[in-house]
Symmetry: C2
Subunit: 399 residues, 2 copies
């Protein structure tokens, strides 16, 4: 139980106000007061402090209401885009995507490095990441000193609280303090987060879950990840661990347990084709899924079969997740969606079959085919969230 003092109180309300301003675009103080259920007095005090800190800006136009309203016009407030800058990154096995965003989360520059880093030693990956961050920052016309925070989203089991990578398919080592490593390299505070969590927050900030307080996201990439939003916050599991869906067990086969990753992981679907020459090259470049789609269009029976099996496994898993969390919406993201109709149809069918009758209709399935930028933007949102939460310079009273 965390101890409550005035500071915490203020921090909570500040976050609430700041987030409301970010979400509802230019917004007046009265409307903030209505939405947050804080008194206008308090809203005035907090927005005053936010203005002092330069986190928000006033704008004297833009009141949407009927032009012909009596009375003093509302002053609209909006997040100051230039209050801070962060870097968000998605690190995957076959590519890295970096974005620099402003305080509002707008992308200022992006950079894709199509490099395969399968199970490289930490120093190699750190080099590449450092290089990517630096180049992307320069592309945005900035210097690294202008960047307040960096967030790296990567697959695997990440301990957000400490910045440790417990295990990740892209690292050879396990149990790496990657946050510390990158923080010193970049001399900028660096957060390490599961890629699934990053895009979950991304959807809550910018995407298909803006209107929700609770939802579940399932990422279908090389690794199968899960993000849970609960009460407007990321649910990070007991110990601050991320979830790794691929480890879920679907049943007992003749030679031991059958894990989801063996049915629906990228390599599971592509695996059978690895020997194929034209294919190995594509996979190596991280373009496997796109090629698969072409082959599916060309009626490659083996692949269609793999896609259908994968869809089935994922559909069952989603049903189980819904059984546990009963979220109003489930968002599916990731490269495996590119498998197209055979995959999606069997997924939908399996889900419909597996969802318990009592929960039928409580969860809506949404497919999202955002590009990698959006993942990186989600990572940026994680970094921004911590800035939004932090008390900033002026915690104290009005001077």
């Amino acid at each position: 139980m965390k101890t409550a003092d005035p500071e915490l109180m203020r921090a909570m309300n500040r976050l609430s106000v700041l987030d409301t301003i970010r979400r509802r675009g230019p917004i007046s103080r009265v409307e903030i007061s209505e939405r947050t259920e804080l008194s206008t007095t308090t809203v005035s005090a907090i927005t005053g402090s936010l203005l002092d800190d330069g986190l928000i800006l006033t704008r004297h136009e833009g009141d949407i209401r009927n032009e012909t309203v009596r009375g003093r016009p509302r002053v609209m407030l909006e997040v100051n885009p230039d209050a801070a800058r962060v870097v968000g990154a998605k690190i995957a096995a076959s590519r890295m995507v970096f974005v620099v965003t402003n305080f509002r989360g707008d992308v200022l520059s992006k950079l894709t490095l199509p490099i395969r880093i399968d199970r490289q030693p930490i120093a190699v990956i750190a080099d590449l990441v450092e290089d990517g961050v630096r180049r992307c920052v320069v592309d945005a016309g900035l210097s690294l000193e202008d960047v307040d925070s960096v967030c790296l989203g990567l697959p695997g089991v990440i301990e957000h609280r400490t910045g440790h990578i417990r295990s990740s398919p892209i690292f050879r080592e396990i149990n790496i303090d990657f946050a510390a490593e990158m923080s010193t390299r970049l001399s900028t505070p660096t957060i390490v987060e599961s890629d699934a969590h990053a895009i979950t927050l991304g959807h809550h900030w910018f995407g298909k879950a803006r209107d929700l307080q609770d939802m579940v996201l399932i990422s279908l990439e090389q690794t199968l990840g899960l993000g849970v939003l609960h009460g407007n916050r990321l649910f990070r599991g007991a110990g601050g661990l991320s979830h790794n869906l691929g480890d879920l067990v679907l049943g007992m086969g003749p030679q031991g347990v059958i894990r989801l990753s063996s049915q629906a992981g990228e390599s599971a679907i592509l695996g059978e084709q690895q020997t194929d020459g034209r294919f190995a090259e594509a996979v190596r470049l991280g373009r496997g899924m796109t090629h698969v789609q072409a082959l599916i269009k060309a009626d490659d029976d083996r692949l269609i079969g793999a896609a259908v099996r994968a869809g089935e496994a994922v559909g069952l898993t989603i049903a189980n997740i819904v059984t546990l969390f009963a979220p109003p919406r489930v968002i599916l993201v990731g490269s495996s969606l590119a498998l197209g109709e055979p995959f999606l149809n069997s997924l939908r069918d399996a889900y419909a079959l597996a969802i318990p009758p009592s929960l039928k209709g409580v969860s809506e399935l949404v497919f999202d085919d955002s590009t990698d930028d959006f993942w990186a933007q989600g990572a940026a949102a994680v970094a921004l969230y911590e800035l939004y939460e932090s008390p900033w310079s002026t915690t104290g009273p009005a001077l």
Copy 2:
């Protein structure tokens, strides 16, 4: 985002102090201050208010420290057992168990009604429950007016926030506002809660999770339930729903999905034996599991087979739950534990096989064979928790 005001602040700290007093037996103010990280001043103010409200008592002995300490002796504080009384109940298909507890959660009286209420209409069940509550209260030498709150724990999908029963194996109807029904009948505030949640809180208050802030409990009864404790609070899922593990899908069989309930539910294990005469009677009386155990001892191959299959299914499911939540401890409760070694061994084996290597050792499996009283006591804890949280009479300042 909930709006933070001084009242919330006080409520949080009050709960923190009161819970510390409950947990750490008679405890001095200084020690409370250390544990809660509140200043001694604040602790004094809060305990003063709690004393005014009669929720705690002072005791001038019992300081555990070395007898020969200088200085003013500490005044020990403890929860006033008589500050309130609640009724907790476990409603199962074959029996109802009621307990009356004091404000500390001590059982004052208990009552077991060995009545089978399979799929009865709501009026019948409500009658029985009302009768049970009233009798148990009388047994404790009390009147219903002395009871501050009632909590009914029952199987199925319960919406705690509204008190609605979405679906339950013991009701014929679905979507019942049982909380409202019983509140009027008893003219006492009545909470309806999933039985799994009730015993989860029970273990956090009195049982095998007293020392933990996070844990997962799995209940193996007629229905398979799940309780998740997260940050000292029950995690009730997105919409305040309870979880129903039995609906989880284990895989795809020849004739559709295979649900956990079909492998490990009480009726799944006993089902094959239902035709057996000596058996049907026992099941009808809710003594099925006990008889099963006898038969297992007598080497009934069919039953041992069923138990092993059930253990396997549950073991896999637990591994999946651990993959998702990574709790430091998993507590297993429920009548199915009475199946004994064949069941438990296959459960343990399946779990060991299914738990992903990276999570090996993070969760400890604990088996708990508490009696039904403990479930009811857990329900009482749910009721007490709400009393502990509520601001009581004196929210205001010291008078």
